[in-house]
Every structure is written in C-alpha cells, then in structure tokens.
C-alpha cells in the first residue's frame, strides 16, 4: 500500500451507494440451493423458529423438559458448555501462529478464528433462549447490577470480550472483502494485541465453565465432581479445540475445494500431523490429572456400579484410546487415524460435559431429565444456522483461499462496474 491512497473515509464516503449495492449483490446465493445439507437444515431451522416462538410466549415449560430438580438442560449443557469447549481451537491456533510464530499453521488461522467467533456468537448466544427473563440480560452488562462474586458473571463478560477479540482478529478478512485497504492495515496492526487478550480470556472462561459447577458439589456424582474442575475444563478445551479444527478443516477442504491451491492438500496433511502432536500431549496431561484425582480421592469403591462403568467408558474409551491413536497417527503420518482420534476425542468431550451438566447431575434424585424433542430441534437449529453463516462468509470473504487469487480485484472491478 502506498501513500497515494485516498483515505478510507473519503473513499467509502463517495462510494456509499456503491457499497450498498455491493452488499446487496453479495446476498445472492452461490451455488445450488438443492443440496442435501440444505434439504435437511431448512425444515429443521423453520421448525426451530416456531418452537422458539412458543417458548417465548408460553414459557420454558412448553418446549423443554426442565424441572425444579433439573434447572439446566441441553441448551446449557450442550450448546454453551460443550459448544464453547469445541470452539477452543481458535485460541490454540492463534496462540501457535501469533505468539509462538509457528507459521506452518498460518493457512488455517482465518477459518479457525471465523469458526470460533461464529461458535461463540451462536452457542453462547443460545443462552438467551434459556434465560427466563432475557430482557434483564442487560443488567450485568450495563453495570446497574454487578454480581462480582458470581462465576457466571465472569464467564458472561469473558464471552463478550472474547468475541470482540475474535472479531478484531478476523476483521482483516472483512476489510479485504470490502476493499478497505487503510482500515485493513489498522485492523492488522491490532491482531497481536487481540490475540494476547483473547488467549488470556480464553483460559479464564474455559476454566470458568468448570467453575460454574463447583457449588453443585452435593448434586454431581463424585466421579465427575472435583475441586479441580476448572483445571480439567481448561486442559480438555485444548484437545477438544484441536480435534474440532482437524475435522472442520478436513471438511472445509472438501467442500470448498475450488477455492484452494494445488498443493493445499499436502500442506493440510502437514498441519494435521502437527496438530495431532499437540492433541496427544494435551490428552496425556488430562488423563494424568484424571488419574491423580481418582487415586487421591480414593474412588476405587465407586467404579463397581453402572456409574463406574459409564465413567470408565468415558475415560478409557474416549480419552485414553484417542490419546494412543493421536500419538500413533502423528508418528506414522497416518492422517486417517488422526481423524478417527479427533472424532473420538470430541465424543469424549461431549460425554464429559453432558455428564457434569446433565447426566451425572442429580444422579441421586428420582426426577430424571431427558431432553424434549423440541430442545433437540432448537439445538440443531443453532448448529445449522452457524454452518449457514460460515458457508456464506467463506464463499465471499478471503478465508480459505490463497489471498490474491480471488478477492479484492473482483471487488474493485465490481465496484467500478456498479458506479
């Protein structure tokens, strides 16, 4: 960029009508609307909207199986608690690329940050559906009523600040899409600060999600309760996030093939092998902590019943096994095995988070919570909506493609032709 640039203000100022029609033109769908994904997701999302209408007019009881004994269901246990752990990849990858300068991972950084941002927006945003009195959600934000001593207060604030950090990290791609060069340079300059801020916030809210359950000590099965829940949540968010990045980038590379250069496949394999090493290490640390807690709390007597088996399934089947698979895959460069390990780790995270928040929660109470089908439809709606927006953005902004192949030149041309 050189000094002959006009200032972005003037530029956008003069071209506002052009910008508007550019944005309109970008709303046009790309590609066929009749894909399998669309055929499934559209009816589900429509049903989700109807259910949410009923939920907000008739109360939570109309569409959920929540009860006095089970105040939190899958809208919290899956959407928020599990969803945020799945979205941990963004802080891991930005840490690797911008703090440790591991340039190898650079090609996936944008897609990962975009995914992380959207996941927070949708999954943490889904919290609003679960709030009984959502109009008061501004209270802890605008400060007329700060519950400093509440873990939830900290988690909520860290969610919001972290979304801001991720938006800043992603904003260069938006500026490129719009062709705002000066603004892009400013945004780029903020990246490192945003990353430092974002990684710090992430360690706190990932562990904070675990701290939410510290006061539920008499309600959670002792195999899942520990005073170290915050640490366990933090460590597991590392391999959870990495596993999600592995699967998500593999899928993206298939779906958005046309945007990628010829050797991107080989590069991606290198990246995945590197990620697998990190995941194996994180899984090992996690397993080690789990074993320490198990031995230290003398929990041998607890593994003799159904709960014990269920616990062993989670720890051996979906922590120990994927750990071994990751290590094997990384060592023998077996990308297929790594992907299996990634899938299994994610199942392990899902089991762990749901056990703590739903399944082994109130294990000693007769009133068992099983999600209402409408809760599942709304959860799917949230997931599908995120994928829709992700796809929309990847089709338009320079997220996956090599910068310069498609992108700003088109934008310039489009602008010119529009004026």
């Amino acid at each position: 960029m050189n000094n002959s640039d006009t200032s972005p203000m003037n530029k956008t100022g003069n071209k506002l009508p052009g910008l508007f029609s550019f944005l309109l033109s970008q709303l046009k769908p790309r590609g066929s609307m009749f894909t399998v994904f669309n055929m499934i997701s559209i009816p589900v999302m429509l049903a989700g909207v109807v259910i949410l209408y009923i939920r907000f007019t008739q109360g939570l009881g109309a569409t959920t199986n929540l009860s006095q004994a089970n105040p939190w269901g899958i809208w919290i246990g899956f959407d928020v608690v599990t969803g945020v752990a799945f979205a941990g990849g963004a802080y891991i990858v930005t840490f690797a690329v911008y703090i440790m300068k591991m340039d190898k991972f650079h090609p996936i950084v944008r897609a990962t940050v975009l995914n992380g941002f959207l996941a927070y927006m949708f999954y943490a945003g889904a919290l609003v559906f679960d709030l009984g009195r959502p109009w008061n959600v501004i209270n802890p934000i605008i400060g007329n009523s700060f519950g400093y001593n509440s873990v939830l207060f900290l988690v909520a604030w860290h969610f919001m600040l972290y979304m801001l950090a991720e938006l800043i990290e992603f904003s260069p791609a938006i500026m490129e899409w719009l062709g705002w060069k000066r603004a892009r340079r400013i945004a780029k300059g903020l990246t490192l600060a945003a990353v430092i801020f974002g990684v710090s916030l992430s360690t706190l809210h990932q562990s904070g999600l675990g701290a939410l359950f510290l006061m539920a000590k008499p309600k959670i099965h002792p195999l899942w309760y520990s005073e170290f829940l915050p640490v366990l949540f933090l460590v597991s968010s590392v391999f959870s996030g990495i596993s999600m990045v592995i699967l998500e980038s593999s899928i993206s590379h298939k779906v958005f093939k046309m945007q990628l250069g010829p050797d991107s496949h080989r590069k991606l394999d290198e990246i995945i092998i590197g990620l697998a090493r990190g995941a194996a290490l994180a899984l090992f640390v996690y397993y080690f902590f789990k074993a320490l807690i198990f031995v230290h709390d003398g929990q041998w007597a607890l593994i003799n019943d159904g709960w014990g088996l269920w616990y062993l399934l989670e720890i051996i089947g979906f922590v120990l096994v994927p750990m071994v698979l990751y290590a094997y895959g990384a060592r023998h460069r077996a990308v297929g095995i790594i992907k299996i390990a990634a899938g299994m780790s994610l199942v392990g995270i899902l089991l762990n988070r749901l056990n703590i928040s739903v399944i082994a929660f109130n294990w000693n109470v007769a009133d068992v919570y099983v999600p209402h089908w409408a809760e599942i439809v709304v959860t799917l709606t949230v997931v599908f909506a995120e994928i829709w927006l992700f796809r929309f953005i990847v089709h338009r902004m320079p997220v996956l493609r090599e910068p310069g192949k498609i992108g700003s030149p088109n934008r310039e041309r489009e602008l010119r032709s529009l004026n």
Binding site: Q68, G132, R133, P134, N136, N139, K181, I196, M215, K219
Partner: protein, 289 residues
C-alpha cells in the same frame, strides 16, 4: 510462600483490582446477629397452619388443608408454595417437618447470582428482586437445599422462594408462619438467642432430642435451625452437605481471575517477543492496486 498465602495475596490483589472485596459474612463479634427461626419438630402437630398463613401473606397458593390429603405424599416446596410440611414415619412415630428456604449465612444462591437479584439483606433474610433477575437459574443449580423454584409455565417467570416475610420482618414484625403456629413449634428471633434456646432444650430433656442442631454448621450455618427426636436423615435432611460455606468453593477460582488477567498478557507478550518476528508478509495479501 505456600498455596494458602499465595491465594490470600492474590485475593487481596483481586479485591483491589475489581473494586469489590469478596464480601464474606464472616463472624465479626460486633456484627448484628442475623434473624432466624427455630423449628422444634417434636412440637409440630402437622396442622399446616403455617402453609395457609404463608400462602395468604405472600399471595401464593393457599392449600385446602382439610381435604387435600397432602401429608400422604412427600412434597418439596415449589413455584406455588414457599413452605410445605411433610410427615415422616420414624422410629419414634410420626414426625412432621416444615421446610422452606434456610436463609444461609453465606448463601450459595447469592454467590451464584450474576445480577445481585438474589441478595442477603442486612437483617439476614435472603430475598429476590424481579427487576434484576434474568432467569438463568444458576441459583437453583447452586443451592445445596434445592430451594429456589422457577415458573416454567410463564412467559414472564419468577424465582419463587421464602423471603422470611421480608415485608414484615424488615419493619420489626414476625413471619406469618411463626405467628400462625398454634404450638410454638416455630420460634422467630436472632440466631444467637435461638441457639441458646435450642441448647437449653437439649440440656433439659436429653432423652427427647438427638444432640445436634441442624443448621448450626450445615453449609456454613443457616438462619433456620431444627431440633429433632430422631436422626436428621430419618426426617428428610441431607447430612452430607459439609460445614463449608458454599461460596468458598468458588473463591480460589475467583481470586485467580485478576491474577491471570494481569499475568497472562505480560507472559504472552514476552513469549511472542522471544519467538521472533513472523515472516508473514503483510502487504502481499493486498491486491487490486
């Protein structure tokens, strides 16, 4: 420096940084004693006058005591009734037990609440404010006695729980249930006096009571205290809640937050310096000049 000192130090740093000391209602000898109620289950006859009085006073459900046969089932308080009386078949015959919010010394529900909607008033009653509450139900998840209840069937739901008749007790009055009790099974007062009365009763009638006052230490101590002739497990009380005030469980985490917010960015900035500058070419990504 061992772990405790470290935590204390970080706590001090945290408190200064956040401008709010994690206010512990710790035993300050000069502090006014919180209000409470002593329930002597050996005196309760199961007439449920307290349920009726509570419903009337607080515009909640007024049970039809003569006909509803409610004593045949074990009930919990719910979103329609702040207090219920249950009948237990024990080794010493039928025992009736009134339950409601325990008005903890250091309540889990108020520590959980991110809007201060759930708050411990100066006199001791724990109250709920609908203008602040956002309905997250974290108070329900955290309360060791499972007290706060939620109106699932309303678009504008409230959290329902006993307020110790705040509207009466804050102006020197007596809770409606206490006033209605025909046998003095429930007595209203401050905790110190009530503890003395409870101990005296055990001392004078050592064979009529188990030698324990439920609520003296449970979950850090509660405003409501119970005397019983049979072990408390037999009349529906959890005796595995421990004596630690529940907010303590999250204190270590809360104290570490400001430390991490200060320390981590510095550490990360240092790390990124050390790892050298990235060869990422900023300009090469912009095109269309």
């Amino acid at each position: 420096m061992d772990r405790r000192d470290f935590l204390k130090l970080s706590g001090a740093v945290g408190a200064t940084l956040m401008g709010a000391e994690a206010k512990a209602a710790q035993s300050d000898p000069d502090a006014p004693e919180f209000l409470g109620v002593l329930v002597d289950t050996t005196r309760c006859i199961g007439c449920r006058s307290c349920e009726v009085a509570c419903g009337t006073e607080n515009s909640m459900l007024v049970p039809d005591v003569a006909n509803d046969g409610a004593l045949d089932n074990l009930r919990t308080t719910d979103e329609k009734q702040w207090t219920v009386v249950n009948k237990f078949d024990t080794s010493k015959g039928d025992v009736f037990v009134k339950r409601q919010c325990m008005h903890c010394w250091q309540p889990a529900c108020t520590a959980a609440c991110l809007t201060n909607a759930m708050a411990k008033t100066e006199l001791g009653p724990v109250t709920w404010d609908g203008d602040k509450c956002m309905g997250c139900r974290f108070c329900m998840l955290s309360c060791p006695f499972d007290v706060p209840k939620f109106e699932y069937d309303s678009w504008n739901p409230k959290i329902q729980k006993c307020s110790l008749c705040h509207q009466r007790t804050s102006v020197g009055g007596t809770p409606a249930c206490v006033e209605a009790c025909p046998t003095d099974a429930i007595m209203f007062g401050n905790k110190r006096d009530l503890m003395e009365i409870a101990r005296t009763r055990i001392y004078n009638h050592p064979d009529d009571y188990v030698h324990k006052i439920y609520g003296e230490y449970e979950a850090g101590g509660t405003g409501w205290l119970y005397l019983s002739a049979v072990p408390f497990e037999e009349i529906g009380f959890r005796t595995d809640l421990g004596t630690t005030p529940y907010p303590e469980f999250t204190k270590d985490f809360l104290y570490s937050v400001p430390l991490v917010l200060l320390g981590a960015p510095a550490l990360l900035a240092g790390l990124s310096q050390m790892s050298g500058s990235s060869d990422e070419d900023d300009e090469s990504e912009v095109h269309g000049e």
